[in-house]
Amino acid sequence: MIEKSRISSFQMAIMMYPTILATAILLVPSITGKFAERDMWLSPILASSIGFLNVFLAVQLNKLYPKMTLIEYSEKIIGLIPGKILGFAYLFFYLQTNGIVFREYGEFVVGNFLSKTPMIVVIGSMALVCAFSVRGGAEVIARSAQIFVPLVVILLLFIFILLVPDLEPKNMFPIMDKGIMPSFMGSVVPASWFSEYTLIAFLLPFLHDRGKGLKWGFISVFTVMITMVVTNMSALFLFGSITDSFTYPVMSAARYIDVADFLQHLESIVMAIWVAGTFVKISVFYYALVLGTAQWLNMSDYRTLVLPLGFLLVIFSLWTAPNLIEMVHYLTTTWVFNALTMQVAIPILLLILGKIRRKRGTKVGSTRND
């Protein structure tokens, strides 16, 4: 097998937590707020159903083909040539999505902190760091996630606790004033973020305790959902109906913190959360892309592909959109359907076809399924 190191399912869960959350806590509250307004805290709960579905699909597919990733079993399920085409579509999707993640990171850092640094420097340095962790393999990414994620959670809690005196819970009333529809519409964009749980299809073959994969996957989705609910609630309680006019509501909330004229300018903490989280997020996407490409080309080692693909990623990040506004518009409209097709609809089809294939295989008694 191409990847020699093994990770535990707990490590997988801890890797996936920032993979969804890192970008979701900054851009998504404002997008959700635009559709759901006062019910924006309900949207992540509705959206998480997609996350649970995706974990279930990935685990079921992994049960059919335990030692293979998405790229490999799509060839087995729908045949060699269609499988290669689908694999290319997935690789292209991950290349572009990872480019967008890089761009979100670059826009955030340049827009809020390093306003005079060229974007290419910010993105390029992150790409280099991530390339080193991807070269190390799944285990290295998992271990760096184990170090960063507890820090991220503690810092997030710190921000929320300091915000408590300023919160106005009455902002959320009346609940479901206009029915369930606004919160449902608001949940579509977070759902596309939750659909990124399909990435565990690239990690499941390397678990040494695969039996616990489903349990830890669900726990991971649940913690992401809770964190998103808390983030949206704190933005809503603080800003009320104007939440959607901020690009980064959590960032603006952190700027707002002022304890006894002493504890101020805590946005640097959000920056720390963001950089650490995005590092893990990009590494997981990058890893899936590199591993998938190596398997798509039937190569024996994926390490030599890391740097060339990293270079392509940096180009894609600058190529995807001319500016932040257009990128956010793209993320809320067409990308949603792109992500849901690639990461929800196609895995469902693959699972159905795989099950049919498995049934036929056992009836005839062929050795196709070994």
Partner: protein, 75 residues
């Protein structure tokens, strides 16, 4: 400025190839070809983007495919 960017891109690409070369030497022909093609494609894209920054990108492809659905999310 344009030629500076191209020089920078070429420098990065050369560094990538130099860094990978010792490992690639032992590898098969296929691996060498893959790395060279990927890095070459990256170089070509980067240079094209320096000359035509407004070149239609992957986003436009996705937009063209999913536009009818994307309209539902306009607000």
């Amino acid at each position: 400025m344009i030629w500076g960017s191209i020089l920078g891109i070429t420098f990065v690409v050369a560094l990538i190839i130099l860094y990978e070369w010792p490992k690639l030497k032992q590898g098969s022909k296929k691996e060498k070809a893959t790395v060279v093609v990927l890095t070459g494609a990256g170089w070509l894209l980067a240079v094209l983007l320096v000359f035509f920054p407004e070149m239609p990108g992957p986003t436009d492809v996705i937009k063209a495919i999913f536009q009818p659905l994307g309209r539902y999310m306009e607000k």
